[in-house]
């Protein structure tokens, strides 16, 4: 069973539809910590404000995810779902993330190298320095394009599995063991996105 966590932030239709298209037939859209603990895989989608992840703590889902990933359940965070894996975000300083990865997410700079930078970062951008051993990115060629829409971004670290350039480099894919996140929308990223989701389903 694949648990897709619903925390009332945006539209889950596209993610569920893409997983079904790839053959996942046992998907449960849920807010239940018990179901998260029982799941074979967990997906945390998300568009919107970091503050909406506060609901995860309020419903006991943060603790459930912490226990599930500790016993090895594969976890995929998408967009804000990736950001939540960090300690927090300047978008909502009062709301704590899972803290699985160090540091916090920050807003794109208004000016980069003397040039005004538009924000949000919207559109197709490339995955660079794709980690060869990444299980999530198996078969993904460096330079492949994926679809982004976001204003906050995660910092680079040793857990970065791919980076993307916009106002400097940021983490577009993070992966350590069974815990993974993508800043882009795999369900909207054509063949490359479907490949990433297929890799996740195959774990």
């Amino acid at each position: 069973m694949i648990a897709v966590i619903d925390y009332k932030a945006g539209n889950l239709t596209s993610v569920v539809k893409a997983l079904r298209y790839l053959g996942a037939d046992n998907i449960v859209v849920t807010q239940s910590p018990e179901e998260v603990l029982r799941a074979d895989k967990i997906v945390l989608p998300g568009v919107g404000h970091f503050q909406s992840t506060q609901l995860l703590a309020d419903l006991g889902l943060t603790q459930a995810v912490r226990e599930a990933v500790a016993k090895g359940t594969p976890f995929l965070g998408i967009c804000v779902g990736l950001q939540w894996l960090y300690e927090g975000s300047t978008e909502a300083p009062e709301t704590a993330g899972l803290g699985h990865f160090a540091d916090e997410c920050e807003r794109f700079p208004a000016v980069f190298e003397g040039v005004e930078l538009k924000s949000p970062h919207v559109g197709w951008n490339s995955l660079e320095e794709v980690r060869a051993a990444s299980r999530l990115l198996r078969g993904v060629t460096p330079g492949s394009f994926v679809y982004f829409t976001h204003s906050w971004r995660a910092p680079l670290s040793d857990d970065t599995a791919a980076k993307t350039m916009y106002g400097g480099a940021f983490t577009s894919v993070v992966e350590r063991g069974n815990v993974m996140g993508v800043q882009f929308h795999p369900e909207k990223s054509a063949e490359t996105g479907l490949l990433v989701l297929r890799n996740f389903l195959g774990l």
């Binding site: 539209n11 539809k17 568009v47 559109g123």
Partner: protein, 256 residues
Amino acid sequence: MLTKRIIACLDVRGGRVVKGVQFVDIVDAGDPAELAIRHARGGADEIVLLDITATHEGRGTLLDTVKRAAAQLFVPFTVGGGIRSAEDAAAVFDAGADKVSINSSAIARPELIGEIGASFGAQAVIVAIDARRGKHGVSDAEVYVSGGRKPTGLRLVEWAREAEQRGAGEILLTSMDKDGMRDGFDCELTRAVSEAVQIPVIASGGAGSAADFADVFKAGRADAALAASIFHFGVTDSRALKAEVAAAGVAMRLPC
């Protein structure tokens, strides 16, 4: 590197894709769901489906079309036409759209922009603006509704800024002077809006050649450009177009 987007637009009436030259000679160009999927496979970066009649009776047909298209679309998918409330938007999102485009309903009640954004995120709300140059050109360009027939008295740049402040995720700017002419986008008009707002601006109206796209990305500072008529009647492959635009020095998603 962030690429510029080329968006294929399908104008739908009564469940079929239509394309007219300046709103006359409307010709049937096929099933919208099937065409949307073909465009995506052909390399379009994004698909927009506009219900140009948007009658109350036609809503069921439209939602069915959106559902059929979305089932096999894995690029961003926008639906516009006839969305007058957050409930209308929710129905379109439930059917599988990623973004909605609102135009006259946002002018009639600007709060609608924030209402849809509150539930589905700002990235899901495109405010479409139809504009014509004024007496003094771009500086007094005015916003129109009803397919470009009815002036609103709103200044283009002011309305674009207000839409952004109210939480629009993107602006879809159509030049009514250029629409259907196929002799190039209004780059000056596009640039005026692009420089006035932080959010992405999608240029529309006037696409005729690859050079037109390159111009609106460079001189017009558009983040994306939309075209309908140049893609129809069997032309659902945008790879050749994108290769030409890339050769003119614009970052494109290639291969795709």
